[in-house]
């Protein structure tokens, strides 16, 4: 069952569980010491983290295909959340149905490693098919807003996130720009994919937490005061630095990156994560909602949790693809 996961991947998953256990213990202690402090939100958040980590670790341990199906389901929840909070037109029900149909197709393209079609199916074919379907229905009132909204949702929740899934089936090419190298002989025998995916998800979520912690601790120059008042320049620098440090530490061990590539990918995830987080924040502000949904107690919706990932997944993937593809 675990044969496709390399030792570093298993150790990393174990370390995440340990980290969560420590967080749970800390909150439990805080509860006992300061019974009057309201820690419900934090405790709920950690409880949901257990669920996310458990589920992610579970599907990853079954097989790469199971993890691809799981990520397709995350895309489905994300798109459903998006379509439930944005203004939509009654006339477009069938167009939205097509947008949902794009999910199984896109993830089937991932599973079958059809890279050429994977990379253009949504940006080219769906980009043209959805407005064509709208035109056949014939409602022109609000056309641009409707198709713009739908396409942005599909790109964000399906196209972008499916890049995380493609990491699972990615294999470094022999004629790549950068020669891939493994630290240990054992690691090279198993698939590279799970290591890449775990690295992406770990760095992205760690970056979120680091941004938050550094932002709370220091800095008062805000980077986007109208979008996210809590984000400070010092927080962003501290967060990115933390992410780069962790990337440099685990990259050469869990994947086929050398130290330089590990540090660069940390930078990509750090900066991309901030941008993704901010763009979903701007969307929510525009719509006047605090959270994108209610599926994850303590976090909000699925879109609130994968906001950074919608940017880091394609950025990480294309960095890997450029260097090693």
């Amino acid at each position: 069952m675990y044969d496709h996961l390399s030792m570093p991947v298993r150790w990393t998953l174990g370390a995440i569980v340990l980290l969560l256990a420590v967080a749970t213990a800390v909150v439990w202690r805080m509860r006992r010491r300061q019974p009057n402090r309201d820690l419900n939100e934090l405790s709920l958040r950690i409880k949901t983290w257990w669920m996310i980590v458990g589920l992610f670790g579970f599907v990853l341990s079954i097989s790469s295909t199971a993890a691809i199906v799981f990520l397709a389901f995350v895309s489905f929840l994300g798109l459903k959340e998006f379509l439930s909070i944005v203004p939509t037109r009654r006339a477009d029900r069938r167009v939205m149905f097509w947008a949902y149909l794009a999910i199984p197709i896109q993830y089937w393209l991932v599973a079958s490693q059809w890279y050429g079609m994977f990379i253009i199916f949504i940006p080219i074919y769906m980009f043209m098919w959805l407005p064509t379907r709208m035109v056949t229905i014939g409602e022109t009132d609000g056309f641009l807003k409707a198709i713009g909204t739908l396409h942005w949702g599909l790109m964000t929740t399906v196209f972008s996130l499916s890049h995380a899934a493609y990491l699972l089936v990615f294999e470094p090419s022999a004629t790549a720009r950068v020669a891939h190298h493994w630290n240990s002989a054992e690691t090279g025998d198993v698939l590279a994919g799970p290591g890449l995916l775990v690295m992406l998800v770990l760095l992205t979520q760690l970056n979120d937490v680091a941004q938050y912690c550094w932002g709370k601790t220091l800095g008062n120059r805000r980077i986007a005061p109208t979008v996210s008042p809590g984000k400070t320049l010092a927080g962003a620098v501290g967060g990115v630095a933390t992410t780069v440090a962790v990337a440099g530490l685990i990259g050469p061990w869990i994947s086929f990156f050398d130290l330089t590539r590990s540090i660069l990918v940390g930078l990509v995830v750090g900066l991309g994560g901030i941008a993704g987080d901010l763009s979903i924040s701007a969307l929510k502000r525009d719509l006047g909602v605090k959270d994108s949904g209610f599926s994850l107690p303590g976090h909000g919706g699925v879109l609130d949790r994968v906001d950074s990932l919608t940017y880091t997944a394609p950025l990480f993937f294309h960095f890997v693809y450029y260097c090693y593809g």
Binding site: L77, L83, V86, T88, R90, R93, G293
Partner: protein, 214 residues
Amino acid sequence: MLNNILRHLYFFFVVRPIVLIVIGLNIRNLDQLPKDGPAIVIANHNSHLDAMVLMSLFGMGRLHKVRPVAAADHFLRNRFMAWFSTKIVGIIPLKRDMKGVRSDPLAGISEAIERGQILILFPEGSRGDPEVTSEFKTGVAHVAKRHPQVPITPIFLHGLGKALPKGEGILVPFFCDVFIGGPILWTGERATFMQSLNEAMQSLTDQARIPEWK
């Protein structure tokens, strides 16, 4: 017996996956839901999914007690529909047109209440335009007057009229918001009772954030 097994299988393998996974519920104040019968739940009506969502709220454990009240002329229109509606979904058929009928139209409802069941009523009478709540008909007042001790729980549903509106055959997934209000009892008079129902429903509606849909 066989029908009962089929009913549980249908709800477990068809209704609940559709309601909880394909659609997905955002439930507010689940603790206000009646724990046991006899009880009446009323809701706005926009889709065939409404009854399925309300029935799913009670879980598999209370499925045997939950009965939606539905129009006899629509749901008993042929033998298959009649079997499916009454035995599998478990509806209590209600005749909408009572002109020239001498029997008690509410007999089925009263019997279910006396047996301690949980009834689901749609006081609007029909699904109407998607995501538009029309005025409540006073039929629910007759039931409340006859059973003044039975609590009536108002529930506002949003999203199902987008997912599966009247006259559409394709289900398009949208999250469904479920707002559950506190119980209301018969006030002793029809006008004030209807007013308290309408006000309760309005205050639940006001809690919802409803994106533009036209």
